[in-house]
Amino acid sequence: MREIGVVGFAQSPSLRREPDRNEVEILIPVIHELKQSLSLAGRQFDFVCSGSSDYLAGQAFAFVSGLDAVGAWPPVCESHVEMDGAWALYEAWVKMQMGYADTALVYGFGKPSMGDLPITMALQLDPYVSTPLWPDSVSLAALQARLLLDGGLVSEREMAERAVRDRGHAQSNPFAQVKGDFEVAKLLSEPHLVSPLRKHDCAPISDGASAVVLAAGDRARELCKRPAWIRGISHIVEPQDLGVRDLTRSRSTEMAAARAGVWRGPVDVAELSAPFTHQEILVERALGLGAKTTVNPSGGALAGNPMMAVGLSRIGEAARRIWDGSAGRAVAHATSGPCLQQNLVCVLEG
């Protein structure tokens, strides 16, 4: 395997509603900042890969205009996934492993505030029997939480504890949207949003963008004093039909974790992209995280959830802890689909 490291990261603040910038205008300064920080221009990347969704933009081929932020003349070698930017990073990593590129710019961006996100997400379901019912994403997550609570596998208190922890950590993250000191007892006295979920159990809806630069071998060492080397990365998808999945555990996270080699060493920091508190618990369990791991030092997805960028940002946030030496080994997680259908796990080391 080639040595490939994360050497740069930039992000926009997560905002409930960007008042007047369109999704490309949110992205432009993020990529500019990243290029400036590494003294690289657009055409100096061997490969460019993005993650975004035309369903969020409400326009076909909306991702093409994202290239305005990159600088695409003379022509660049470029690709796109209709997924979170974490999967764009996976594609770039594969391309680099194959020797086609030594550097890659990866970005994700989205402006879900333009539409009704929980309803838009129903389009991820099977189009014959599930989507026509238009089950929104919060209601589906609530069904999953109900399974966990009724089965005694998770308690509402444990769920609230995740919200308190992440919102507390987010106080040191200038890009986070939901942050502050909260008390479990007070959160539990709040009414349900969609039973059994309360507001604190759900990640916010956020407009935003983020970008990461990958580099191989010595090129990575030139660009970064202490690159966050990708020692393992894997993603697994579960079946589309919710009825055939075991929703009380995250099997695909477990499998991706094994393949990425999460358990080959201690995990100092984990950045998780679970958009609901009970899903965060499932991901922690699937990754086998214990008391020695600092989970979501940035606040994670529950503190800021820029659709199509939130998973990529977890990799960027985990890499930052490697760069500054606060972690020797970190795990980043990204998810896609309803109720943790597809999961990506990335192991980074200094």
Partner: protein, 165 residues
């Protein structure tokens, strides 16, 4: 029990998503300009090319634009065109009409609009000028310009617009 074995051949699952669209800062700046009769472009800080309308950054260098704008004249050159003789559901124009790519003087990107001319007179390099709607009808729309028309000036040199064909 019926023996219905007819295959299901059709399933209707209508998808309707509502969006609150925002044009964005750059397009809004352009549209607010045209609402008062001003054609606003933006200059790339790297090579000085003028983008009209601007989309917030120079797509060649990926360089973000500041809020600074540049006012352009409503005169330019017909870079290329198409005579449209086929009706289209969402274009309520009388056929045939001339779809035109106009390079405004001082701009480095072309504007797509309409040209009013006799079909036999239309040619590349023609000098053209905007014909505006009455001021009382102006809104935040490129439709404030009804169409372009020939100025009668000598044609522009091919060299001056060949990059835009």
């Amino acid at each position: 029990m019926s023996e219905a074995k007819e295959p299901v051949e059709l399933l209707r699952t209508p998808v309707e998503l509502a969006y609150t669209y925002s044009a964005g800062q750059s397009a809004s700046r352009f549209l607010r300009g045209i609402a008062v009769g001003k054609l606003l472009g933006q200059k790339c800080p790297v090579d000085g090319r003028v983008y009209f309308p601007s989309r917030g950054s120079c797509p060649q260098h990926g360089m973000p634009f500041t809020g600074e704008t540049l006012e352009l004249t409503d005169k330019g050159t017909l870079v290329t065109y198409a005579i449209v003789r086929v009706p289209s559901e969402n274009i309520p124009l009388e056929l045939p009409y001339i779809s035109a790519q106009v390079l405004l003087d001082g701009a480095d990107t072309v504007l797509m609009h309409l040209l009013k001319a006799k079909l036999e007179d239309v040619h590349m390099g023609m000098r053209v000028k905007a014909t505006w709607r009455p001021r009382s009808e102006w809104t935040t729309s490129v439709g404030n310009i009804l169409y372009f028309e020939a100025t009668g000036e000598p044609d522009a040199l091919y060299e001056s617009y060949k990059e835009h064909i």
